[in-house]
Amino acid sequence: MDWTALSLSLKLAAATVALLLPLGLWLGRWIARTPARWKIWVEAAMLLPLVLPPTVLGYYLLVGLGNASPLGQWAQQLFGVQLTFSFTGLLIASLVFNIPFALQPLQRAYENVPPSLHEAALVCGLSSWERFTRVDLPLVWPGIMSAAVMTFAHTLGEFGVVLMVGGSIPGETQTIAIAIYDRVQAFDTRGAHLMSLTLLLISLVAIAASLLASRRLGRPTRPAEAAP
């Protein structure tokens, strides 16, 4: 069992969730509520990572973040950070390919909130922060759960993009998925099996939790007649 790779994966997944949730909340709310027709293009762009081969995504990230790119040079000069084959680069890649997994559940959650509740909060005089904490957050909570779980599990399992952007540097970019690949290449089937099983169990629990959250989300918020 490669504990370094597992902890790196967990660290990457946690950081991705922490950074992606606020963005997903903001963007999900915007898509759910804006009347702008061109939002369809934003939605489509945000779903791209779902259909593009990891190699395409990885290639563009490599080009975009590499030392020859403006972004890569800027990061190098300003912070002395290399964006490719480093944890920072891996995190950026992870953020990009996880957008649909974070955005979709949050957007659905916001779409499930009846517009009249938002309007009622406005008429009740709630500030935008109060509307977010007292109305939005409790109502989209299952969506947040679902987004966090899906993003976390998906980051643990991502292989292609990670390999393209990060390579396989132990302790820096070698995630558990890459470590499994290396184990198999080295004919260490026992190690590969142990790590694969761990990943499989984590993913299974995560998806079950996500389903549970979305079931709760799917429940009607207000049955018409309940009590006498």
């Binding site: 709630l126 109502l139 918020t221 007649e225």
Partner: protein, 380 residues
């Protein structure tokens, strides 16, 4: 602190007209669905930003597009009862009502308000899903009133509750009204509800405010045929306004009813608003029609015009009889009559009767043209 609303927009939907509502007064916006009633209400609440509008309450101006002024709904202090109540599903009744309140006394005030609308302490702890439709509505009303709003807006609040609950809620609203000294605006498509609850009606159609006034005044004198249609005036007839001549008494003119030999010339009040020769629609309120036995022709508007009729259909609706009659001479128009008291009896189909039409109650209006009447309606 009366509410003054003037609005004029073409996009995204047509909405134009104006209305006023005094403190403590309840005005009902009525009209067919799609008339723009809810949109107008949303404009007052600030949930819709109109193209051109001026909305003010007392000295406070909430919207003046001429001055580029638009106060957002959070800062307007309106109480709005939504059609679907819009209660927060994750909060209990008490927290829902306390939502607009600030400060340490908020829960106590919410509790007091809920008690006034008739919820028990146990029901206050329930979430909306655990309350009946009628109870949810009471919570919605309590939330709208708890902050002592500058205006109370009700968007078809009774449409989702059954008839029995509706009656008790009418009573509740009537009771609460005694303590509310702010303008109240009710949106409804139910005319009976509007007449029952409101001091004044604002009649709307196709996004345009057609007439504002007391229900009986609108019934007596609808501004045009569309208004007569919307408020359900059954006895509506076509004619031509001939105007006064040498034989007509002062202040009266002639209305030609029907065509050719069958036409009648009726002496009716002349308000000097219609050009002679113009085609008109005219109405009489229900109480201006009664069964009688006279047969002399009237000479002045103070008299009743006897019309020979026969019974078309007769329907028994509880305590009243709905009688449909057909004229057998003259313009051969059909009439609708509600009978109560001694006149109410089972008339036989085709039975011959005499109907007296009180000419003093005849109200004449121009036939609605696309814009002409509208401008007149808005201008007046």
């Amino acid at each position: 602190m009366s509410l003054q609303v003037r609005i004029d927009q073409t996009l995204p939907m047509r909405l134009s007209g104006s209305f006023q509502c005094a403190p403590g007064q309840l005005v009902a916006l009525v009209g067919p669905s799609g008339a723009g009633k809810t949109s107008l209400l949303r404009g007052v609440a600030g949930l819709m930003k109109p193209q051109n509008a001026r909305i003010s309450v007392g000295t406070a101006c909430w919207c003046d597009t001429g001055q580029r002024l638009f106060v957002p709904p959070q800062q307007r202090n309106v109480g709005l009862v939504f059609q679907d109540y819009a209660l927060m599903p994750h909060m209990n009744a008490l927290d829902n009502v306390a939502l607009p309140l600030r400060g340490p006394q908020r829960l106590a005030r919410a509790q007091e308000m809920l008690r006034r609308v008739g919820l028990t302490p146990e029901q206050m702890q329930r979430r909306p899903a655990q309350l009946s439709g009628g109870q949810q509505q009471r919570v919605a009303v309590a939330r709208a009133l708890v902050r002592e709003p500058a205006v109370l807006l009700l968007d078809e609040p009774f449409s989702a509750v059954d008839q029995m609950n509706r009656q008790t809620l009418y009573a509740l609203l009537a009771e609460l009204r005694e303590d509310i000294a702010v303008p109240m605006v009710l949106v409804t498509h139910d005319l009976n509800e509007a007449r029952l609850l409101a001091d004044e009606l604002v009649v709307m159609a196709e996004g345009v405010v057609l007439q504002q006034g007391r229900a009986d005044a609108i019934h007596r004198a609808p501004r045009n045929a569309r208004v007569a249609d919307i408020v359900g005036i059954a006895n509506r007839f076509d004619g031509v306004w001939l105007g006064p001549d040498a034989h007509s008494p002062a202040g009266t003119g002639w209305l030609r009813w029907g065509a050719g030999n069958a036409a009648l010339r009726l002496p009716v009040r002349d308000k000097g608003r219609i050009e002679p020769g113009q085609s008109v629609t005219w109405v009489v309120p229900g109480e201006a029609l009664r069964l009688c036995d006279r047969s002399s022709a009237p000479a002045s508007p103070d008299q009743a015009l006897p019309l020979p009729v026969e019974v078309l259909t007769l329907r028994h609706l509880g305590d009243v009889w709905l009688l449909k009659l057909q004229g057998v001479s003259g313009p051969r128009a059909s009439f609708q009559l509600m009978l109560t008291g001694p006149q109410a009896r089972a008339y036989a189909p085709s039975e011959s009767l005499t109907l007296c039409l009180d000419l003093a109650r005849v109200h004449i209006m121009p036939i609605k043209t696309a814009t002409g009447t509208l401008t007149a309606a808005l201008g007046g």
